[in-house]
Symmetry: C2
Subunit: 242 residues, 2 copies
DNA sequence: GAGTGGTCTAGACCACATG
DNA sequence: ATGTGGTCTAGACCACTCT
């Protein structure tokens, strides 16, 4: 790891970058343990403290999860305690409830100007358009429209989406090897149009929370753009300003 | 340090707690430099690395700001680069613009059930009720109603609120010694009522973004509850899911 | 040059999980 | 008993800022 050439990034950051690249290559799958700090230190010829600092940063960014006595593990969307953190909607009483996803539309289309811009594609590049509803306790609360980079989700079908009880991101991770690491959301209040009103069981013109999300995988590469309409009559979007 | 159970907290955490208590006591004011890592290490009879870890955590929580070569400083809401991070509203083009706050109402009232619950007060305890408008580029975009713990903001008047160009939190910090450290927000889409519609220049029933915020000072003590109505016709609420 | 935070090392010991 | 992450030390040197 020590390089003779003049380099401007500290050792622990080079190690972090190497580990991220390894994750990207799929060297260790979601839920797997990565090598111990001691072993990595030997492998890179650095002290354990240096490896530790690299892993600390990655854990802070939710790419890895440390568990004392057991090891360090690759985060996974299947594990609620580590990677189930993108849905911020809670019922009024604040008590989280399992959600049920009901996809009902899936089609490959050419990217519109808006979608192309948000996903960093060229106009007309293939994207997968998905529509789904989300329910809490039997009540439909969210109408989502997803646009996925076509090259990465080539064989995605409605049947595949409907299989299993997993979250979408968990499915993307296990079936397509695409892991969502971070996302940026833009929120607005809008009036319900006819389609949304029908899906959510509200009147046309009723206020809905519009949530537009761009989701990124390793290297801040955008892979999903999503437009969700949330009915906030009995639920709210929670945000912690840390 | 703890008494409920024989659970021991690590050294660096005890040091962190001590530093937080010092900040709470006002030992170092906002913007001041705290003692250097070396000096603190001597003072506590620990190694510099242990002090460092305590400060690292506090910097990650935005209580302190490190500046290489200069020192470590107490965060302040007056400094845009460190503590001006609670307003998440941006114009559609994404380019931040300075905001102008126009308070127009300030009155001491007894806490309603809702306010008492959110602020951890008893029903009827004194709170300060403030109303203000926020503008971007001459356009009124936010109608805020604040409820402040009365004991901490005893002499707050409309004149004081109007003095200066500072943000409210900057004023609270310098004039009342109350520093907002973290906050929790709950967002909903609602229809504009008559008062809000008038202030924001929209029709009654137009969709508005309702943002309810509880803000906390040191020790997670709630000191402000706020209900804001955002007109999101040309602005959006930005949220990063890290 | 003096003082600060930032990186890195080598080694010790503690706390937790598992066989 | 062994292996893992978590804490702590003492000291070295680097990078940045100011005088």
């Amino acid at each position: 790891m020590r390089s003779t050439a003049p380099t401007f990034s500290p050792l622990y950051r080079q190690i972090k970058d190497f580990l991220i690249a390894s994750l990207e290559r799929g060297e260790w799958g979601p839920g797997d343990a990565i090598p111990s700090e001691g072993e990595l230190a030997q492998r890179f010829n650095v002290s354990q403290g240096t490896v530790r600092k690299a892993i600390d940063e990655m854990a802070a960014e939710n790419m890895l999860v440390r568990r004392q006595g057991k090891g360090t593990f690759v985060s996974t969307h299947s594990d609620p305690r580590s990677f189930y953190r993108f849905l911020r909607l809670l019922p009024d009483d604040g008590v989280a409830v399992p959600s049920v996803s009901k996809p009902f539309f899936c089609e490959k289309i050419p990217a519109s100007p808006e979608v192309a811009r948000e996903l960093g594609l060229r106009l007309g590049d293939p994207v997968i358009h998905v529509k789904r509803l989300l329910s809490f306790a039997g009540q439909t609360v969210v109408f989502d429209q997803l646009y996925l980079v076509g090259d990465l989700f080539n064989e995605l079908t409605l049947e595949a989406l409907r299989a299993g009880e997993r979250s979408l991101y968990s499915l993307f991770e296990s079936d397509f090897g695409v892991r969502m690491i971070s996302a940026e959301e833009r929120l607005r209040a809008v009036a319900a149009d006819a389609e949304s009103a029908g899906h959510l069981g509200v009147d046309v013109g009723a206020p809905l929370l519009l949530v537009e999300r761009t989701a990124y995988t390793y290297g801040n590469k955008p892979v999903e753009w999503r437009r969700g309409l949330y009915c906030t009559a009995h639920h709210y979007y929670r945000n912690d300003l840390g």
